[in-house]
Amino acid sequence: MSAPIIKIDSIAKSFGAFKVLDGLSMQVMPGEKLALIGPSGSGKTTILRILMTLERIDGGHIQIDGEHLYHMERNGQLLPADERHLTRMRQKIGMVFQLFNLFPHKCVLDNVTLAPMLTKGTPRAAAEKRAMELLDMVGMADKAKNMPAQLSGGQKQRVAIARALALSPKIMLFDEVTSALDPELVEEVLNVMRKLAAETDMTMLLVTHEMGFAHDFADRVLFFDRGRIVEEGKPDEIFRHPKQERTQAFLKKIIAAGHRV
């Protein structure tokens, strides 16, 4: 069996006096599709943001692909990571945001080509060729010259997925990527993600309130509450036969709110 691609070792994170994460540990295997579910405020987004280096940890260790994320090894000592180390580590990770975060002043194609050209020195022609392949994959090739303001939410999110994929990360983080969309646009984004899961061996971490999708998509589901993993297991175990009371209560509430499982 291979080594985990993500190894989180008793990390802590507080916002002011409020402890969001307190000694959380978890591991993700290469190629694994992981769904993170749990009530609002349980720390799901915070975990993804920490992995993307958008938030720093207060304690603990994270290893990505066998290397420390927030620490550098120098002469056998662990030092806090500097910007150069973080830049190198970020190459392995991509993130798709709830609100897309497209660059409004750049057309769809330029949104996708910007980072490869700047961070990898990819020549424009090669970057555009790859971008068109990705846009084609997410069904947005015909809108390559449009500005983001002309797109629907679902279209924007598909472009944002293509943009993150353009850097070929080993790990992709998805934070409630459909929750800002009108209901009729959710499916087009989920379809892209299904395709991605089927066609690539990327490791994917998904935070979602779409329980039906989490069930079909994930190899493993983690149920979070108050910054801790309350229960984890195969989708069928978590969704059909949850063992913990809190998991049962959460799923009941979700179903009552009209989400299908």
């Binding site: 830049t87 945001f97 497209l102 660059f103 002043h105 700047l118 961070t119 500005m147 303001a149 002309q150």
Partner: protein, 219 residues
Amino acid sequence: MTDWSGYLYLILQGALVTVELTLMGSVLALIMAFVAGLGRLSRFFAVRALATAYIEFFRGTSIFVQLFWVYFVLPLAGFELTPLQAGVLGLGLNVGAYGAEVVRGAVQSIGKEQYEACVALNLGRWQGMRHVILPQALLLMLPTFGNNAIELLKATSVVSLISLADMTFQANIVRSQTGNTMLPFATILILYFAMASAISWGVRTLERRMARGLDGVRT
């Protein structure tokens, strides 16, 4: 009967000096605005302190006194400047200090999510600033930059203090030579207004063109 065409020529010569001062001063002001405005957002304390000192000093003292220093005091320290150089330097530094706050405000008003997208795409700080933040911030800066340029135009009349023959200076000459106040000053009133209108129009056009890029199809 006075020969007005000769005097008009004099005023137009002054107008040329005013335009020259406004253009060159604006270029310097623009450079200073970005240097000091981004300097105030620097990670490094020394850079922030330097930028803040520049901004506060030039906003806190009058352009009149600044010009006096640039032209009459700097030479004592060995910096000999022509009146035009002194005028451009004084005006550019003064208006640049106001512009710096515009740059800082516009950059800070770009949403946190744009910075986070830059991190997620692994852009360096400067790459993100240059390709993502500044192009969006520029649109927000433009209207105020237009106002600043008009302020600079109006401030050019202080250069007569350092014997630069700008439009106001020439109008005064005409007045003292002809005894007529109405005609020369009505003339420069119109000219100043025309120049300010040209600046407004230019900035508005630029703004419209940039804003159109945000919701149109790029071809």
